[in-house]
Every structure is written in structure tokens, then in C-alpha cells.
């Protein structure tokens, strides 16, 4: 491609516009072609490697098995949806008949209790991770600002943060489970305990990068901006709102992106153990199931988990571009 362009340049120097557009095209082509090549090579290596690994549940799933499973899982989802619709239709018909016979009859509506499909489980996982993440952000960002503003508070709290930061979610989970079952007692709970357990574990693990990044960002605010605020005698609340918060938005977003990545990783492990009906439970159930399809279904889940993690990061980046004044840092 480039040699072709070079030849054209020497042959016909008048058509610089054409050359430029070709160069542009070749750049765009590179941006598309190179990742394609990378993916293709990966798929080839994967299928070769998969073919040569034998397990007690058959061969390790290759790309083809995963594609088949994606189809299967979607089919299962569709048929489950049909069953659900049919169930509600039957129920409605039955109630209508009863009311026709006896106008005083109060119809009973029973919820459908079919099994969760893969797509439902993705939904559950997303809801859980976002709840845990938002709860962490609500705690971490104000805490980070306070720690960043006050050296005293920073010195006091820093050791605690450093100790809790490296703790694995698996270590937290039993404690969280016991505390939740002791504290969260209600006859008709709004949320399932498994959901609360997973969410709190996610929160505990993604709290720290946000606290640290926010506090570092706040502590590193340009002294000139602080002086502007001092000369204007801004009251401390206005100072935080007008100077500190906007100035540390880039750092806060860096922390939020790190945290969301951690949250998504932690969630899968938490769901496996807490039996929250999400992707983690799907993986665990398939592993316990041990059918000939299990491994390929797990592999599908692995790839879906990866994709969702990637999309979450992109979404966060888009949000940062939207909110942050510092477009430079949002491009990284």
C-alpha cells in the first residue's frame, strides 16, 4: 500500500489530494486491519491449543464450540421467554374465567419462577456491579477529598488504606455474609441476601483506588488556584465545589476507571461464592454440572465477561470525556 502511494506521488505530483486521501485511507485501513490480523492469529493459536488439550469433560473448547454455545444460550433465552409469556397468558385466562363466574373474586397473580437464562445473569451481574461501584464512589470521593485537603487526616488514615487495599474479595466474603445475615433481617427483603453480599464485597474492594486517586488529585491542586480562592476568601464549601472538585476531576476519573475494572473482576468471584444469580454463578453452576457442554459454556462466559469489562471501561472513558474539562487526560 505505501509503496503504491509512493509510486503515485512520483508519477503524478499534481494529484496530491488523491495521494492524501489514499494515505488517509491506508491509515484507517491499518487501524482496522492490524487488530483483525491480531484476532485471527489468536483464534488460530487458540483452536490449535484447544484441540491438543484433553480433559475429563472432553476437549478444551475452541472458537467453534464457543460460537455454537452463543447460539445455544440465545436459543435457551428465547424459549424461556416464550415459556414465561405463555405462563402469564394462561394465568390471565384462568383469572378472567374465574371473574366471569364470580365477579367478587380477587385475582391472584403469581410471578413466574423459571430458571435464569444467561442473558438474565448478565443483567444481574451488571446491576450488582454498578450498585457496588456507585456505593463505593459515594463513600470514596468525599472521603478522598477530605483526605486530600487535610494532611492530618491523610496521615491518620493512610495506614488503614494501605492495609485494606490489597485484601482479596474472597477474604471479605465470609465476613460480609455473616454480618449481612445478622443485620439485614426483614420478613420481606427488598433485595436478596446474595445480592447484598456480592455488592458489599465489590464496594469494599473498589473503594481504595478511588480514595487514593481522589486524595492524590486533591493534594496536587495547582497552588495558584488555591491562592486565587484564598484571595477571593471563598468559604470552604464553595472552595471545594468551585475549585477542588473541578480541579481533581481528571484524577477522580482515573480512580473510577481503575475501580470499575477491579469491581468487575471481584464481582465474578463474589458471585461464585455468594450464589448471586449472575455470571459468576453461571460459571460455578456449569462447573458443578460437569456436562460435555460445560467447558464451552464457561469459555463463552469468560469471553463475555471480558467484553463487558472492556465496554464498561469505554463507557467510563466516554463519561469522562463528557464531564471533564481536561480533554488531554481523557484521551489516555
Amino acid at each position: 500500500m505505501t509503496t503504491l502511494i509512493r509510486k503515485m506521488m512520483t508519477a503524478d505530483s499534481d494529484s496530491t489530494l488523491l495521494v492524501k486521501s489514499l494515505q488517509f485511507l491506508s491509515q484507517r485501513a491499518k487501524a482496522v486491519v492490524l487488530p483483525m490480523v491480531g484476532i485471527a492469529v489468536f483464534l488460530v493459536i487458540w483452536s490449535f491449543a484447544a484441540n491438543s488439550i484433553d480433559t475429563s469433560l472432553g476437549k478444551f473448547p475452541g472458537p467453534k464450540a464457543v460460537v455454537t454455545q452463543i447460539g445455544n444460550l440465545y436459543q435457551e433465552h428465547q424459549s424461556e421467554r416464550e415459556k414465561k409469556a405463555a405462563f402469564y397468558q394462561r394465568q390471565e385466562e384462568r383469572n378472567a374465567k374465574r371473574i366471569a363466574k364470580d365477579p367478587d373474586y380477587q385475582p391472584k397473580i403469581r410471578a413466574y419462577t423459571g430458571k435464569e437464562t444467561f442473558l438474565d445473569q448478565i443483567g444481574t451481574s451488571l446491576v450488582t456491579v454498578m450498585s457496588g461501584f456507585i456505593l463505593a464512589a459515594v463513600i470514596a470521593i468525599p472521603l478522598g477529598i477530605a483526605v486530600g485537603l487535610s494532611k492530618t487526616l491523610n496521615t491518620a488514615i493512610n495506614p488503614i488504606i494501605q492495609v485494606f487495599k490489597p485484601v482479596s474479595p474472597l477474604a471479605w466474603l465470609p465476613l460480609v455474609t455473616m454480618v449481612v445475615s445478622a443485620v439485614y433481617v426483614s420478613p420481606e427483603p427488598m433485595f436478596a441476601k446474595s445480592f447484598i453480599n456480592s455488592m458489599i464485597t465489590v464496594t469494599l474492594c473498589c473503594l481504595w483506588p478511588m480514595v487514593i486517586n481522589t486524595s492524590v488529585g486533591v493534594a496536587a491542586i495547582d497552588q495558584d488556584w488555591v491562592n486565587v480562592s484564598r484571595v477571593l476568601r471563598l468559604p470552604s464549601l464553595v472552595h471545594v465545589q468551585k475549585i477542588v472538585l473541578p480541579a481533581s476531576i481528571p484524577a477522580i476519573f482515573t480512580g473510577m476507571r481503575l475501580s470499575l475494572g477491579i469491581a468487575w473482576m471481584v464481582l465474578i468471584a463474589a458471585e461464585m461464592l455468594a450464589q448471586n444469580p449472575g455470571l459468576g454463578k453461571f460459571v460455578w453452576d456449569e462447573f458443578q454440572n460437569g456436562s460435555s457442554q460445560s467447558l464451552s459454556r464457561i469459555m463463552t462466559a469468560v469471553i463475555v465477561i471480558g467484553f463487558i469489562g472492556f465496554l464498561l471501561d469505554r463507557a467510563m472513558l466516554q463519561l469522562q470525556r463528557l464531564v471533564s474539562w481536561d480533554k488531554e487526560s481523557a484521551n489516555r
Binding site: 495547582d222 495558584d224 491562592n227 486565587v228 484571595v231 477571593l232 476568601r233 464553595v238 473541578p246 474539562w325
Partner: protein, 291 residues
């Protein structure tokens, strides 16, 4: 005219790991209302420290500053500061940057419409009304500094403090900004303390030039009265005998009486001086460090 600002025998001592460092020793200066004062001296002599003490950003170790016979203990909008690198908030437009100051200073004293007029008036004064809804990263260095000046003027300060306001600008832009500043000064007749490295700038703009001795323990060396008629024109002044006398007086002070002995390689400073062409004292060490 009465004394508006009295800098009364201030000492400034900074504790360092190697023991106390005396930056300023008995700096004493009385400034009348409407006076334009330049502070000139070699880098590291503590000019910025003096300014920061007047601004209230630093507290003098000994002595103090009186504004209208009241002691200065904290920063405040009546002593507005124009910082060297504009220090506009990058997430706000030029208008919003000035608005932040106006809202804080004239809170409840002005209606919304009055505030808007006042903000626009100040931006017009510095010729920034055409770009007032642009953000700092969309405008040039000179324009940013104009907005910084507008923000300070909008606070209606009793004393306007300028810390090398044009130090970061190229020579042509700087000349333009100096003319603008003289124009504004003719109209408003503010009391101004300006730090500068530029001898021409000092002579052109000031009523008095305060020359500081080298640190440590820097103090006021000589004070030069500039009795050139206003409005001043840089081109006609270039031939003026009095202008040249003042200019050489400052140069003599800086290069003979207070010759700076630099142990640090002088290479970078000679390069910088050649760049701008005019005879200015070049900052090779960072005097903001002390501040």
C-alpha cells in the same frame, strides 16, 4: 496624598532543614493612593515574598503591613493579585473566571444584571470582550493574562498586586500589554505594586521604582522617582534624556552596586537574554521557591 499602604519593617524568616533562612530584613515602604510602584531586583531577592506578604498569602516574621491603618492578616479581594502565570481556572470560560470573583466580592451588593454589566465592562477594559466565552486553553498567553487582570480589576481592589504579570510573554505581546495597562491606569488610577525583571517596563510604567538588594536578608536598596509626564509613549521616550537617565540608574544599581554572582552555570541565562533583545535581568533561579 495620604499613605494607603504601609509596609512596616518586615522580616521574613523561613525555617529550612539547614536552619533558618532570612529572606527579607527590614523591608520598609510607604505607598500613596494612586501610586504605581515597581519592585525590581535580581531573582531570589525576595520580591515575590514582599508581594505575598502584602497579599496576605504569607505572614511576616517581624513587622507588618498596614492597609488604611488596618493590619493585613489574611488574603482578601481588596488586595487583588495578578499571578505570573495567569492562574485562570481552566474549566471556566473567561467570563466565568471573572464571574467567580465578582459573585464573591459583590455578593448581595449588586443585582444579577449589574453583575453581568460589571463583568463585561471589565473584560472590555482589557479588550477581551470578543472572546469572553472562550476557555483559557482556547486563547493565547497574552489574552489569558488580560483575563487575569480583568479578574483582579473586577474585585475593585484598593491595591492591585502584580507578580511579574508579563514575565511569561514574548517581547512584542509584552509591549502591547504594557500599553494596555497604562491605558487602564489612566482611566482607573489604581494603586499598584508590580514585580518586574524588565528595566524598560519599570521605567515606562512606574511612579516610583523600588530596587531591592540581593538576598539573603534582602531589603530596599534605592528608590527612584520617575517624574516622566503621562501619558507616556515608548517611542518618543526612547530619545528622552530623563528616560535614559532613569534607565541607566536602574541598570547601574542592578549591574554594579548589586552585581549578582551566580555559581550556577550562566549559560542558560545568557541565551534567554539574547532572545528577548532588551536589557532585562533574567531569572535563572526560581524566586517563587522562597515565596
Amino acid at each position: 496624598m495620604s499613605i494607603l499602604l504601609d509596609i512596616s519593617k518586615i522580616d521574613m524568616v523561613f525555617p529550612t532543614p539547614k536552619g533558618d533562612f532570612t529572606a527579607l530584613k527590614e523591608v520598609d515602604l510607604k505607598i500613596k493612593k494612586g501610586e504605581f510602584i515597581s519592585l525590581i531586583g535580581h531573582s531570589g531577592c525576595g520580591k515575590s515574598t514582599v508581594l505575598n506578604v502584602v497579599a496576605g498569602l504569607l505572614q511576616a516574621t517581624k513587622g507588618g503591613v498596614l492597609l488604611n491603618n488596618k493590619e493585613v492578616t489574611e488574603p482578601g479581594p481588596e488586595r487583588a493579585v495578578v499571578f505570573q502565570n495567569h492562574s485562570l481556572l481552566p474549566w471556566l470560560t473567561a467570563y466565568q473566571n471573572v464571574e467567580l470573583a465578582v459573585k464573591q466580592v459583590f455578593n448581595r451588593k449588586m443585582s444579577k444584571a449589574e453583575m453581568q454589566d460589571w463583568i463585561e465592562h471589565n473584560l472590555k477594559l482589557v479588550h477581551m470582550d470578543h472572546a469572553m466565552h472562550k476557555r483559557p486553553d482556547e486563547i493565547s498567553g497574552g489574552m489569558k493574562q488580560r483575563v487575569g487582570i480583568a479578574r483582579a480589576l473586577a474585585m475593585q481592589p484598593e491595591v492591585l498586586l502584580m507578580d511579574e504579570p508579563f514575565g511569561a510573554l514574548d517581547a512584542l505581546t509584552r509591549a502591547h500589554m504594557q500599553d494596555s495597562l497604562m491605558e487602564i491606569q489612566d482611566e482607573l488610577n489604581n494603586t499598584v505594586i508590580m514585580i518586574t525583571h524588565d528595566v524598560d517596563e519599570a521605567v515606562l510604567l512606574s511612579d516610583r521604582i523600588v530596587m531591592m538588594t540581593n538576598g539573603p536578608a534582602a531589603t530596599v536598596g534605592e528608590i527612584l522617582d520617575v517624574k516622566l509626564e503621562r501619558p507616556r509613549n515608548r517611542l518618543s521616550l526612547a530619545q528622552d534624556a530623563e528616560y535614559n537617565r532613569l534607565r541607566s540608574a536602574v541598570l547601574t544599581f542592578l549591574y554594579e552596586k548589586q552585581r549578582k554572582v551566580e555559581n550556577i552555570p550562566a549559560q542558560s541565562s545568557s541565551k534567554k537574554a539574547g532572545e528577548t533583545g532588551d536589557l532585562q535581568i533574567v531569572d535563572s533561579t526560581n524566586d517563587v521557591d522562597v515565596a
